[in-house]
């Protein structure tokens, strides 16, 4: 049973990752930076609970704030350029974050152990959950509270004027400008919300795996982040959830018997999926 709880944890965290890309995708912006905000959230939350002795919940709050702040800062220069340039800029940013953590050392002594991030070695011993006696089931529930919260938030956006404006910007920027929509404000706000969600996701990830390192936040993760909403379609948040369940649940677990060949299959399957159904599982709800 624990195995399924563990899988549900992974699905939950990846859904947060996907949702952070979803909101930006509504505005027509493809961002490969979400893994970067995810990484920042992970290290911030980890450091606060391990080095600062914080409880996890405020640590996650800090993750959200840090993710949001960095996203906002990155958004301003990056979103002033056209769509494809954004892909490149966010890719570069994501890789930059990964390289930063590859070089990042900050350790303190706790008893006779040294704890904290250690460059290429990574950040081990993020043991908030085990130290406080959380069971796998409880961790899973905890994660899903946040997932449900994020989905509810985005679903609410979708039904409000904000969500409609996001989609209008994604549809036709020129027309949106001409009816009075401030493009930069809208795009940066979406990026900020996405950064916050990714930050929380990263913080949760750090704590259920207990060990993070720079390679956990590479281009593959950045790809997963946007793949989920693209494959799931942009009509609703549930598409992203379905896509995560499909990829993580069915593909990764179901094809475990393939062993090493599994990695080969990811790329091939993405290519196949895009050829067969360019508009995603649930369709776009907007022009692809």
């Amino acid at each position: 049973m624990d195995f399924y709880f563990g899988l549900a944890q992974i699905i939950g965290v990846h859904t947060l990752l996907g949702l952070s890309a979803y909101i930006l995708l509504l505005t027509g912006q493809v961002s490969l930076a979400q893994a970067g905000f995810y990484a920042i959230g992970a290290y911030v939350a980890g450091m606060l609970t391990v080095l600062g002795g914080w409880h996890l919940v405020p640590a996650l709050g800090a993750s959200a704030v840090c993710g949001a702040a960095v996203a906002c800062a990155v958004g301003f220069p990056a979103l002033r350029v056209k769509g494809l340039m954004l892909v490149i800029a966010t890719l570069a940013f994501g890789e930059g974050v990964r390289l930063f953590f590859f070089n990042f050392d900050y350790q303190i002594a706790k008893g006779d152990l040294k704890v904290g991030p250690l460059g290429g070695e990574g950040f081990r011993q993020i043991r908030f959950f085990p130290e406080n006696g959380w069971s796998t089931f409880e961790v899973m529930l905890f994660i899903w509270v946040f997932v449900a919260g994020a989905m509810a938030l985005l679903w609410w956006f979708d039904r409000s004027r904000y969500g409609t404006v996001l989609r209008a910007v994604g549809e036709d920027e020129l027309a949106a400008q001409s009816v009075g929509i401030n493009l930069t404000a809208v795009k940066v706000s979406a990026m900020t919300v996405g950064g916050a969600i990714a930050g929380v996701g990263g913080g949760l990830y750090a704590h259920y795996t207990t060990h993070i390192e720079h390679s956990s936040f590479n281009i593959l993760v950045a790809t997963f982040a946007i793949a989920y909403p693209i494959v799931g379609g942009l009509r609703s948040v549930f598409g992203t959830l379905l896509a995560v369940i499909f990829v993580q649940g069915f593909l990764i677990e179901g094809l475990r018997f393939l062993g090493d060949w599994r990695n080969l299959l990811f790329g091939a399957l993405i290519v196949l999926a895009m050829n067969l159904r360019p508009s995603g599982f649930l369709g776009t709800g907007r022009r692809a």
Partner: protein, 249 residues
């Protein structure tokens, strides 16, 4: 209301608009006509801020527009329609109007939170009448991309009106319409004038222009070659020459 002073817009060597002087009084319906390529659409684009002028200035209600970006000009009271309709195809009719409610008045009326995160209920009183006016109430939830051509044109106009403009720039609204539709459009434009909207009408379809405008300016190669009442313009030899190449009408 609107004053263009020596307005110029060049694209490399092409002088799309060249030293244009124009004044539109409040409450007027002003027509802007000219052969294809004479600079009419470019003029509209410069007024709304999509292009910056190469020279000259634009004054709207006494205020120089140079510093204002496009979305701010909308809030200042200038709205436009597009020649090739640019609706938000995957949004419904209602949603197209909803996202366009960006006038200064609307911003003051509702708080930030309600305006952005509130639901549809708060704006029913505002959008309902717009739907009635454009005859689209029965298609409220239809995707804009699924509307018939004439309905799309009406939605384009309604969306411009959603912003409660003082000045409305219509870019060839009658293109592709039949006589009956043109008549309906004419009536709608006149009703808008009754409500106090000033209109700059860029158009090719003479049936509409001559029948609804107070004053007309004629462009050719980016320059104004004539200005006057519809009757004066119809008789003007330079206009005849520009359109018809010098033949007798």
């Amino acid at each position: 209301m609107l004053e263009l002073r020596s307005l110029s817009r060049h694209f490399g060597g092409v002088r799309a608009v060249d030293g244009l002087d124009l004044t539109v009084q409040e409450g007027q319906i002003f027509g802007l006509i000219g052969p294809n390529g004479s600079g009419k659409s470019t003029t509209v684009n410069v007024i709304t801020g999509l292009f910056a002028p190469t020279a000259g200035s634009i004054l709207f209600r006494g205020q120089d527009l140079a510093a204002l970006p496009t979305h701010r000009r909308l809030r200042a009271g200038i709205a436009r329609t597009f020649q090739n309709i640019r609706l938000f195809g995957q949004l419904s009719v209602w949603q197209n109007l909803w996202v366009a409610q960006n006038s200064a008045e609307d911003q003051a009326r509702q708080g930030f939170f309600t305006r952005w995160l509130g639901g549809q209920r708060g704006v029913r009183d505002e959008i309902g009448p717009l739907l009635e006016f454009s005859g689209l109430a029965h298609k409220r939830d239809e995707l804009a991309a699924n509307l018939a051509f004439g309905e799309q044109r009406r939605l384009e106009l309604a969306r411009a009106l959603a912003a409660k403009p003082r000045l409305l720039l219509l870019d060839e609204p009658a293109a592709g319409m039949n006589s009956e539709e043109i008549g309906q459009l004419r009536d709608r434009i006149l009703k808008l004038r009754e409500r106090g909207v000033t209109i700059l009408l860029v158009e090719h379809v003479m049936e509409l222009v001559m029948g609804v405008t107070d004053r007309i300016a004629v462009l050719n190669f980016g320059q104004k070659i004539a200005e006057g009442t519809p009757a004066e313009i119809q008789a003007h030899p330079a206009v005849r020459k520009a359109y018809l190449g010098g033949e007798k009408a």
